[in-house]
């Protein structure tokens, strides 16, 4: 046991001495929280609007007034004709345009339909559709104040947003961020630290020492586990304090699931190191094989259900996908194991298989 202790101390010293890597390990989660909190958002606010009003009258002015009062829109320019619109859209100066037809109020007064054209920049489809919805809801609220059309019926939608009532995207990203940080630290760093011993030839020295194989692995990875665990708690605390992200479910359950996910990532890291001989290859494998899928296929940033079928199936083998579902369930929905047992079971199965494979590949090297 003292030998294991010695290895642990040596590994901790390694981490503390390599300032550059330590800085990245500690800085990355902090920066990521800031980036994801303030930058990776899909909320649509402060829409830049152009208004084309060839012949302003009381009706168009009223509608324009309502749009400005809605606080979602910022009127960039009011034009007389549609000519300059194209250029405004191309430079990105405006995101939407409202085009009135001349004689708007007259048409309304005579009972003719008054025509209004809403142009939105749908280059990014979701933003475009959302802006359209914002404009339409203002127009509809103005219409509702007019005397109702005899005979027409109205279905009035009452919308309620569950689990994330303000629909803020930052709440969505924090659980994914935890998966990402854990993958970097437990998988990438484990793979690198083990291959480094191989590359420098010191692995042989470790193998002939009185340490048992499992002790070597534990000694090598435990310090990183600690760093990983600390940064996850850091992410949660920061998310709570700075961004006020909810934590509705049980904290011990979240941490326990975190440990389960760390075990999976660690096993992956050990497996990668067993199959590669140089740090460079191990790093490439860890980056391409675990970090990219964690970022892209886990539902962290992009919803899995939006992807083509093939990628949806593929996403099932990405451990982070399951952890993201679990973490979101606990943090945002406040549900417990009753709803998350399937995902937990999948992670558990992955942990068993990968740990088994990792232990075996390590033994093979011994013979």
């Amino acid at each position: 046991m003292t030998a294991l202790w010695g290895l642990l101390r040596k590994e901790a010293l390694h981490i503390l001495r390599d300032r550059r890597t330590l800085a990245v390990l500690l800085l990355l989660p902090v920066l990521q929280v800031v980036i994801f909190g303030y930058a990776i958002r899909t909320d649509v606010e402060d829409v830049r609007l152009a208004i084309v009003d060839p012949a302003p009258d009381f009706a168009t002015l009223r509608l324009r007034g309502r749009l400005t009062a809605a606080h979602v829109f910022r009127v960039i320019t009011v034009l007389r004709e549609t000519g300059p619109l194209e250029r405004l859209f191309q430079t990105g100066a405006v995101q939407a345009a409202l085009v009135f037809e001349p004689g708007f109020a007259d048409d309304l007064g005579r009972g003719l339909p008054a025509r209004l054209l809403v142009i939105t920049d749908t280059t990014e489809p979701n933003t475009g559709v959302t802006i359209q919805g914002h404009v339409l809801s203002v127009v509809q609220s103005v219409m509702r104040e007019m005397p109702p059309r005899a005979g027409g019926v109205q279905i009035v939608p009452e919308a309620r947003l569950r689990f994330n009532p303000t629909a803020e995207s930052k709440n969505l990203f924090v659980p994914g961020l935890m998966a990402f940080v854990l993958t970097i630290i437990s998988c990438l760093m484990t793979a690198i630290t083990l291959t480094r011993e191989k590359e420098t030839g010191t692995m042989e020295a470790l193998l002939v020492s009185p340490l048992r194989p499992w002790q070597i692995i534990v000694g090598k990875v435990a310090p990183y586990l600690l760093v990983g665990f600390a940064s996850v708690i850091g992410v949660i605390v920061k998310a709570r304090l700075v961004f006020d992200v909810p934590l509705r479910g049980s904290v011990p359950l979240l941490l326990a699931e975190g440990v389960l996910f760390i075990l999976v990532s660690l096993a992956l890291g050990v497996l990668i190191s067993a199959r590669t001989d140089s740090q460079r290859v191990a790093m490439t494998a860890a980056l391409l094989g675990t970090m990219l899928p964690t970022m892209i296929l886990s539902g962290f940033i992009f919803p899995v259900e939006s992807m083509p079928r093939v990628l949806q199936y593929l996403s099932n083998v990405v451990p982070a996908k399951w952890f993201v579902i679990i973490a979101r369930g606990i943090m945002l929905k406040g549900v417990g194991l009753a709803y998350l047992w399937q995902e937990t079971l999948v992670l558990f199965g992955m942990a068993l298989v990968l740990l088994g494979a990792a232990a075996r590949s390590f033994h093979e090297r011994l013979e």
Binding site: T42, D43, G111, T120, A150, L161, S306, L332
Partner: protein, 384 residues
């Protein structure tokens, strides 16, 4: 000049001989494009929907059918159990629960209005708003349709047309909507121009950082330093082949985008390549800057990954710049990737010309001058 070309030739041979690098240049970009464009999407379709129908009339059935027929919603189940619906929502099986109250049809016929409750899982942020948007549009269309069926009195005059007869004194506003540049709302058309930028950035920065770090690691940098080449010449020779490669990869990516995804290319490709030529100088210089600060290839890769990660996330490539908080939008002005993403999308999707992209282009030129000067100077200090 001849010296530069000599060294540049040596570089090209190095790249062509090394299988891994060659694969990095030829295969990785295409795979990246294919996977990322399909995966990096916020498209919303087939929203799993649970309908709680307390009314069970033709009107409520019609509503369910309209939702299903729109293609935006997939009806999981239709029952009168709110508990089951709630379970489906908690489990994540359903994203939207539509509750149609008792007497839905009756109050529509008698009072002309009836409520419908839409509960949406907003876990995924703004996607919830879009789901509600689609639902709202379908409800509006359906109520217009129902008006004719349930309370047909008004339509007797204008029979045969879908519009009520004019002159009846009922004011209303007819809104038409039009989405410019991406009328089919195809997310891939939006992503391809952005992913191309990521591709060029990755190749440019990673290769140049690795390249010089390798010379350092092998000790061959010392040898090159004692040759009659000046620092600027040396750097030019190192970067020239990578610069050409970056442009080549852009062409390759454009071709794949055209063939596989049929992305629109409305603007001038020449303009795009000109912008890319300037942008690549920045990407290469950043790689060079990284390589001056590190000692090994591994560190170069780690730092590059870290830097690019932040650059790409803050570039508006994945999520719109307009959605960022105001101070973050200001910070992102310092990000060269952002400006090239803007240019790429404006030129390819919107068909913008030189005048429309002049501002980001000038900013890119500024970045190129500053970063190249910095890189050359830093390089001086490290080796003298």
């Amino acid at each position: 000049m001849r010296r530069i070309l000599f060294l540049a030739r040596a570089e090209v041979l190095h790249i062509v001989r090394d299988r891994t690098t060659l694969a990095q240049i030829l295969v990785v970009p295409i795979v990246q494009l294919l996977v990322l464009v399909n995966a990096a999407t916020f498209v919303i379709r087939d929203t799993p929907t649970y309908v709680v129908d307390y009314d069970r009339t033709s009107a409520s059935r019609g509503l369910t059918n309209r939702l299903a027929a729109s293609g935006h919603f997939r009806i999981l189940e239709r029952s009168a159990s709110l508990t089951q619906a709630n379970d489906a929502l908690l489990e994540g099986a359903a994203t939207l629960v539509v509750t149609i109250p008792r007497d839905f049809e009756k109050s529509l016929t008698r009072e002309g209005r009836a409520p419908v409750q839409l509960v949406v899982n907003a876990e995924k942020g703004s996607a919830a708003g879009i789901v509600l948007n689609y639902a709202g549009q379908i409800l509006a269309r359906y109520s217009a349709e129902l008006g004719r069926e349930l309370r047909p009195s008004v339509f007797t005059i204008g029979a045969g047309t879908s519009e009520p007869a004019p002159g009846r004194g009922n004011p209303r506003i007819e809104v038409r909507t039009r989405g410019w540049y991406n009328a089919t709302l195809d997310y891939r058309h939006y992503m391809v121009p952005g992913i191309l930028v990521a591709l060029v950035t990755l190749i440019g920065t990673l290769l140049s950082a690795q390249n010089i770090a390798r010379e350092k690691e092998l000790g061959t940098l010392e040898q090159l330093n004692v040759t009659p080449l000046t620092r600027a010449q040396f750097i030019a020779a190192k970067l020239l082949p990578l610069w050409v490669l970056g442009l080549f990869d852009l062409g390759l990516g454009l071709l794949a985008g055209k063939l596989v995804f049929d992305v629109p290319m409305r603007g001038s490709l020449l303009l795009l390549f000109a912008a890319a030529a300037i942008y690549l100088l920045v990407a290469l210089a950043i790689g060079l800057l990284i390589s001056t600060g590190v000692d090994t290839q591994q560190q170069a890769m780690f730092v590059t990954f870290f830097v690019l990660n932040i650059y790409l996330l803050l570039s508006g490539l994945f999520t719109p710049i307009d959605s960022m908080s105001p101070w973050m939008q200001a910070v992102s002005q310092l990000n060269p990737v952002r400006h090239f993403v803007t240019i790429s999308r404006a030129v390819l999707i919107k068909g913008a010309g030189l005048a429309e992209v002049a501002q980001p282009l000038v900013i890119l030129c500024g970045f190129a001058v500053v970063s190249l000067t910095l890189a050359v100077q830093r390089y001086h200090k490290r080796t003298v």
